[in-house]
Amino acid sequence: MKFGILVNEGPFTHQASDSAYQFAKAAIEKGHEVLRVFFYYDGVNNANKLSEPQSDDRNLVKLWGELGKEHNIDLVVCIAAALRRGIKQDVLADGFRISGLGQLIEVGIAADRTVVFGD
């Protein structure tokens, strides 16, 4: 099956990004395809390459980037939400791209299931 995923919250503050990551990984392991992960609201903060968690904690920005690259997942950060929150090209981590909200609706149409993770 084809999945779309919406991530509503930034890394660390809420578990939403962790749960979405674990879900995406499990879906791929089950042989499904994750077409796109769309980062909206504070979710845009998952793409901040300056994020530097403690050495004994997970690094969600890196984990998303690697998962995206390895499994050809389109990682899209909403431009409107990102501008407000100061996530711009200068700080955009590898593997992410910035685009419009239409990309969320598009994956909703293209995917068999769209799953939302938030607070």
Binding site: Q15, A16, Q22, F23, K30, H32, V115, V116, D119
Partner: protein, 100 residues
Amino acid sequence: MLNLVNKSPFERLAMESCLRVAPKGSAIVFLEDGVYAVTKGTAAAAKIQAAAEGSAIYVLGPDLDARGVDRERVMDGVTEIDYGGFVDLVVEHGTPQSWL
């Protein structure tokens, strides 16, 4: 429709909204802080037990582990799943609704 509840029933009323609106017999997955809902002997237990009649109730095991919930404290009739099982449920039950 597959209902996803990630809020503690002691902090927010998301679960109540789910139980009020979701069609009878809808499956519910408890994850993140939502997993406290399916523990025995709490002030919220009776409500979940009532909802469990006729609904399939699932709980995410990794979230129970993180929070130190011993398995003998999980209510009878609740099915524990891992992330793979979570994916299967989304495939089987159709459109997921996250009660944020």
